[in-house]
């Protein structure tokens, strides 16, 4: 045949265009959801953070606390010596306005707890999560003295029945890990998931280093604050509506 089949070319061109438009978002989403393979270490290109919207947080709801307890194997009853990685705080200002919000480890970029730990057990992972290496912790509680947010708890009694993903035991200090065992498997922290499931959607999780993530976009558009911002600890957790 001598001439070119324009109709066929056009169909092919349209078809390829349509296919590209259909597949491309899928490729982008796949990249976001794909995350980091297990053999690859955490990297500084990401910085995980949380944004808590106090205006959406309900005073009588403690879904985040209960989810954290279930996920990490923490005791349900609260005593002076039991571990609390996240707690609901009720605020009342001078004129009677009340607020409710959760407080957990703020995952500071300049953590005082990391500075004071004698063995280096309290450390900041490359992607910004502040953790306690319980293999090295000697239980001196100096980090508990240093934390401005009272985020850390000391395990005062022997522990049994731990979750296989969250080893914890007597004599070491611990705090919110931002569900690092879930994040590493591309899931959300338990508190974030539970808050969404309860309908409040008050806690947002994401990569602060990625300007396109939901959390970065929200921080760029609304007023957010850090707790004890005067200390300049550059926390990874921010609050909206305080």
């Amino acid at each position: 045949m001598k001439g070119v089949d324009h109709a066929r070319r056009q169909i092919l061109a349209w078809g390829l265009g349509a296919a590209g438009v259909t597949i491309a978002p899928g490729i982008t989403l796949f990249d976001l959801a794909h995350g980091r393979p297990p053999s690859e270490p955490a990297s500084r290109t990401k910085r995980w953070g949380l944004l808590v919207d106090a205006s959406r947080c309900a005073p009588d709801c403690s879904a985040c606390v209960e989810a954290c307890n279930r996920e990490n194997g923490l005791p349900a009853t609260k005593t002076a010596t039991s571990s609390q990685w996240i707690r609901k705080v009720e605020l009342k200002d001078m004129r009677g306005r009340t607020l409710s919000l959760p407080v957990m480890c703020q995952h500071c970029a300049e953590p005082p707890c990391v500075d004071v730990c004698p063995t280096g057990a309290s450390f900041k992972r490359a992607d910004g999560i502040v953790l306690v290496d319980r293999h090295t912790c000697i239980g001196c509680r100096y980090c508990m003295m240093a934390c401005p947010y009272k985020a850390r708890s000391f395990v005062h009694e022997p522990v049994t029945g731990q979750s296989p993903d969250v080893p914890r035991g007597k004599g070491c200090v611990e705090s919110c890990t931002m569900c690092v065992h879930r994040i590493d498997r591309d899931r959300l922290p338990a508190c974030v998931e539970a808050c969404a499931a309860s309908g409040h959607h008050a806690i947002l999780f994401g990569d602060l280093n990625d300007p396109g993530s939901d959390i970065s976009k929200r921080i760029a558009s609304v007023a957010t604050t850090r707790l004890r911002a005067d200390l300049r600890l550059d926390t990874g957790v921010r609050y909206q509506g305080i």
Binding site: R87, T119, I138, G171
Partner: protein
């Protein structure tokens, strides 16, 4: 009483003291074992007050350990002969108190079996890690210093060794004060003033402990401390007590000046319950003013007054440390300035702390260790200060 009977009686007393010291140390070890088996839940410490009675004892002993070496330093470094004669006893007491303080600190850890981890993993941004080196180095330096003091042909090295020990202990006490000075979060701490405050406290408490032990040794050996020496040491103690009062006053007044610290100061000084009581009654009156009266008032010049003054200074030290360590933690952290705060984790509430038996037993165990080391040390080696004096019983001279 002839010499043989005297020696037998002394020997019996010695073994009685060793048994007493041993019993106290055993109680401390049992307390530590209970804490390790059952966890810290059996103590009064919790997630709000994480450092309690054991730390009061331990920090007293460590600060006094560095201060008691002052007596030797005044001798070796500043050349005062009267103090030089007392240098060996001062060195022994330094080692004894340091061992006692570290005994308490290490056994109070959540995981004391991880001592090896602490000795092999260091985070050099932490003043605790530096303290590990400072404390171990202190043992070595004071050991060498004692050796130069007591070995006759090494005496020419005692001045450089004394200088090294003096410098080291200033750094060590600065490190101890820095443990608290570097804590930015709490209104009670986070001030550079704490390092010199601890240095001055070490002067006062170290000398007080030295005077107590010296008095006991003189009574034991049926000798009398000459009045001139007693007066000098007493006046020096008075000077140090005034210096500590000054530093504490500056610290409190500066805190009062800042609006954000005022509520905390009110808590400590006025309405905190046990804390104002211990601060004013325990530290200011019993621990400073009464000893000053006993030291400087012409009516009180006897060795007994000096001993009483020294004991009261030590009691005042415990009161001050309790207010400093426990009071500083009892006051809630201010995470939301301007708001009234409540939560399930003690936010916004003053923490309640009551010392428990295991904690007190552990603290006393540390004192027992220091006591044992001192008693055995002075029995075995010549630590009694040898001055040119008229002994009540003629004894061997050097």
């Amino acid at each position: 009483m002839n010499r043989a009977a005297f020696a037998r009686a002394q020997s019996r007393w010695f073994w009685a003291l060793v048994a007493l010291g041993g019993a106290v140390v055993l109680a401390g070890l049992l307390a530590a074992h209970a804490m390790e088996t059952h966890g810290h839940a059996i103590t009064g410490m919790d997630n709000q007050v994480v450092w309690g009675m054991p730390h009061v004892f331990a920090i007293f002993m460590i600060v006094a350990a560095s201060g008691v070496l002052n007596v030797a330093s005044i001798g070796s470094v500043f050349g005062q002969a009267v103090y030089k004669a007392r240098a060996p006893l001062s060195g022994l007491l330094c080692l004894a108190l340091l061992v006692g303080g570290l005994f308490v600190l290490m056994l109070d850890l959540g995981r004391p079996e991880r001592m090896v981890v602490a000795a092999t993993h260091y985070n050099f941004r932490s003043v605790f890690a530096w303290n590990v080196f400072l404390y171990s180095g202190m043992f070595a330096i004071v050991g060498v210093y004692l050796w130069t003091l007591m070995e006759p042909h090494l005496s020419k090295w005692s001045k450089p060794a004394g200088l090294a020990a003096f410098a080291w202990r200033i750094v060590l006490t600065t490190g101890t004060g820095s443990i608290f000075a570097f804590l930015v979060a709490r209104p009670a701490y986070g001030t550079a003033l704490l390092a010199p405050l601890f240095i001055v406290m070490s002067f006062a408490w170290g000398l007080a402990v030295f005077l107590v032990v010296q008095s006991a040794m003189y009574v034991w050996n049926e000798r009398a401390l000459p009045d001139s020496i007693a007066k000098r040491m007493r006046n020096l103690l008075g000077l140090f007590v005034v210096a500590v009062l000054y530093m504490v006053a500056v610290y409190r007044l500066t805190n009062l000046y800042f609006a954000k610290q005022a509520a905390f100061e009110r808590f400590i000084l006025v309405d905190g319950g046990i804390y104002p009581l211990l601060f004013w009654g325990g530290y200011v009156v019993v621990g400073s003013l009464v000893p000053l009266l006993l030291i400087y008032h012409p009516r009180f010049g006897s060795p007994r007054s000096m001993l009483a003054a020294s004991l009261l200074v030590c009691a005042g030290a415990f009161a001050l440390l309790y207010v400093f360590i426990v009071g500083g933690q009892a006051w809630p952290l201010e995470i939301f300035p301007g708001y009234e705060v409540t939560s399930s984790f003690g936010d916004g509430q003053v923490a309640v702390y009551a010392p428990s038996l295991p904690e007190v037993a552990l603290g006393l165990g540390g004192l027992g260790v220091a006591f044992l080391v001192t008693v055995i040390g002075v029995r075995v080696l010549r630590f009694l200060p040898q001055d040119d004096l008229q002994p009540a019983v003629a004894g061997p001279s050097r």
